[in-house]
């Protein structure tokens, strides 16, 4: 996935000289995950900025660039470190169009690795998508593999709204996929049915998609697996379609359960398709605690926990 994102960045920079990258260690070092490797030497220090250590500043500066016709891509080294910039994201990026009557817009892309799986402990493993998804004015997208990563990022470059682009860091090097050379797009706001089945629906995204697919395959579960791809705005039609089809729903994510994405998805279903439900809507998620270092395998939803939920929901009534 690292290469796919690198390619998307590189191709968009080639195509459009208003694209500027900024972030800590994104230049000479090529990013701590090597996502921006080689871009400094290709595009020079005016387009690839190794910034001082100030998330709030680089996000704010990025917004200022976006307002003035550039297409900044800000990298936050770990999503866990984005919170000092929350005010810039919530009160500036997400509200500029609204407050200025559309006179100013802020098409910034904020890329950041998120989630666990690299033994990063509580400050290098967070899945903070809820903080962004609750913020009207933002678009929040997250790929589940290299193909979508490039395609969604290409779409992000065409959008005119601020975008939080969450990269499941666990997948950076673990998932291999064919990625076309051309600048194809994967549309924002559209989920993907990653597996088709009749008995139940598993709704998920990001790093959990492959875990769910593996589980389903290995255990021969006849399930719809919906990869959301965009978390804000959600693809409600795709969600409702799978509910109508199976009547049994599990939502899987790494983020803590309380007000995690599962809450919103569950609520959307409970207010629209209650009559289709043949079982409770279950959530298999990270627990409501910080993310532990040593015991991370217990934190992240795994086959065992998904299968427990599957069994429960299939047996229901």
């Amino acid at each position: 996935m690292v290469q796919a994102i690198n390619q998307a960045l590189s191709q968009n920079m080639e195509k459009d000289d208003s694209v500027i990258l900024l972030g800590e260690d994104v230049g000479v070092d090529g990013g701590v995950f090597r996502v921006t490797d080689g871009l400094l030497s290709k595009f020079g220090p005016e387009r690839v900025l190794d910034t001082p250590l100030v998330e709030l500043g680089i996000v704010g500066m990025g917004i200022g660039m976006a307002v003035n016709g550039l297409r900044p891509v800000v990298e936050i080294q770990f999503q866990d470190f984005i919170y000092t910039a929350m005010d810039q994201i919530i009160n500036q990026a997400a509200k500029i169009r609204y407050r200025s009557g559309g006179e100013y817009i802020a098409p910034i892309i904020i890329r950041t690795p998120y989630g666990g799986g690299i033994r990063g402990g509580l400050y290098h493993s967070q899945s903070g998508e809820s903080y962004f998804v609750h913020t009207a004015g933002l678009i929040v997208a997250t790929p589940s593999g290299p193909y979508d990563a490039k395609g969604l990022l290409n779409s992000a470059f065409k959008a005119s709204d601020p975008i939080i682009f969450l990269e499941p860091k666990r997948l950076y090097r673990s998932i291999k996929e064919e990625v076309p050379e051309d600048m194809y797009t994967v549309p924002l706001g559209k989920a993907k049915l990653a597996n088709s089945g009749d008995d139940l629906s598993i709704i998920t995204y990001g790093s959990m998609v492959s875990t769910v697919l593996d589980t389903v395959k290995k255990n021969k579960i006849n399930a719809d697996v919906l990869d959301l791809r965009t978390l804000l705005p959600l693809d409600v039609e795709a969600i409702l379609a799978t509910v109508e089809k199976t009547g049994r729903v599990i939502i899987v994510h790494e983020a803590p359960r309380t007000l995690g994405m599962g809450a919103e998805i569950s609520a959307l279903i409970a207010e629209r398709r209650i009559d289709y439900l043949q079982a409770p809507i279950l959530r298999v998620t990270g627990p409501d605690s910080p993310f532990p270092y040593k015991m991370e395998d217990y934190y992240i939803p795994n086959e065992k926990r998904i299968m427990k939920a599957v069994a429960k929901i299939l047996e229901y009534r």
Partner: protein, 336 residues
């Protein structure tokens, strides 16, 4: 008193004074209207006219402004029509932002004046990004960003100052140092002079008497020159005084006894009038004449704007995104 000699600058000064009178008159009009319940809220600018208008004198049209909620005089002197400001304060259907923002949160792309937010100093990092864009595109414009002295304590001030300096960007940080952050005097905000903070970022810091239009003009002119020459940012500490309350919701008698009454010798208008008279550009009669005419103009414009109907409620839920989300469509359907 700073010196001006060229005919052009003298003309500028006359124009600037007219803008000061207009700002002051409009300010008082809005404050009165607020007391009468005709306006919801307002942050008076009285006392800060000279520094804002002096700064504007040093700018060109293509220069960008990232200002804050106390910048009506700055807008006026940039040529922003009065009705744009009044419509914003009324939040009526002619307002650019359709009454979405509280009064005192104006903006106008046409005048290169970024729409104002409330969280203080968060415009500063944006100004830095704006300056980066200008530099990257090799344009000759500069960015002026304004904020109160209280705002120098914020994260955003620190971030913006350092970034502007590291990338040598054409930004002028104009601190409108009115001595108070609501109830906190500057001595409790920080232990040093604001201008001296510039050194921590390797940029020049200039102290100016913000009540004297020419002094601020000179300071900003120097900073603008520096910025246009590609030498980077400057911090200007324009020392002034908030003649009114923090806002129409504030009662300054709770926390301060000092005052600068209108027409007293520290009033920036009084100082400007002294300068104009010394330069023989105006006399008392002309001044009085301008003031009287302005009252009428402001009253008329205000009445006119007041008649404009409120925005259609539906507009309160538009322009959140380039396209309205399905959620919002649904929610608005439910609301209206």
């Amino acid at each position: 008193m700073a010196e001006i000699t060229s005919q052009e600058e003298k003309q500028k000064l006359v124009k600037a004074y007219t803008a000061m009178v207009l700002s002051r008159t409009l300010d008082k009009k809005i404050v009165n209207a607020q007391r009468q319940g005709r306006v919801g809220f307002y942050t008076p600018t009285m006392g800060q006219e000279a520094l804002q208008i002096g700064a504007a004198m040093a700018l060109d049209e293509q220069d960008l402004i990232y200002g804050y909620y106390r910048d009506v005089p700055l807008m006026i002197s940039r040529g922003v029509p009065m009705d744009l400001i009044i419509n914003q304060i009324m939040g009526n259907s002619a307002d650019i932002a359709k009454g979405r923002q509280m009064p005192s949160h104006y903006g106008s792309r046409k005048h290169n004046f970024m729409s104002v937010q409330s969280p203080v100093a968060t415009n500063l990092p944006l100004a830095v990004g704006a300056a980066y864009s200008l530099k990257y595109r090799k344009k000759k414009g500069v960015v002026l960003t304004t904020f109160g002295e209280g705002s120098t304590s914020t994260p955003d001030f620190h971030a913006a100052m350092n970034l502007a300096s590291v990338y040598e960007l054409p930004v002028i940080f104009l601190c409108e140092n009115n001595g108070w952050a609501i109830s906190l005097p500057v001595e409790k905000q920080t232990r040093v002079d604001i201008w001296s903070k510039a050194a921590a970022y390797g940029m020049p810091g200039i102290r100016a008497n913000g009540n004297d239009i020419l002094e601020t003009y000179e300071a900003v002119k120097a900073a603008v020159k520096r910025a246009r020459e590609g030498k980077g940012p400057t911090l200007i500490d324009a020392i002034s005084f908030r003649m009114g309350p923090h806002s129409t919701s504030d009662d300054p008698t709770k926390y301060r006894s000092e005052s600068v009454p209108e027409g007293s010798e520290k009033d920036p208008l009084t100082i400007a009038e002294g300068t104009l008279k010394a330069l023989k550009l105006m006399d008392d009669k002309m001044i009085e004449n301008i003031k009287q005419k302005t009252i009428k103009i402001v009253d008329d414009k205000f009445d006119e704007c007041e008649k404009i109907p409120p925005p259609d409620p539906i507009t309160a839920f538009e322009q959140v995104y380039s396209e309205q989300t399905w959620m919002l469509k649904e929610e608005v359907g439910d609301i209206l």
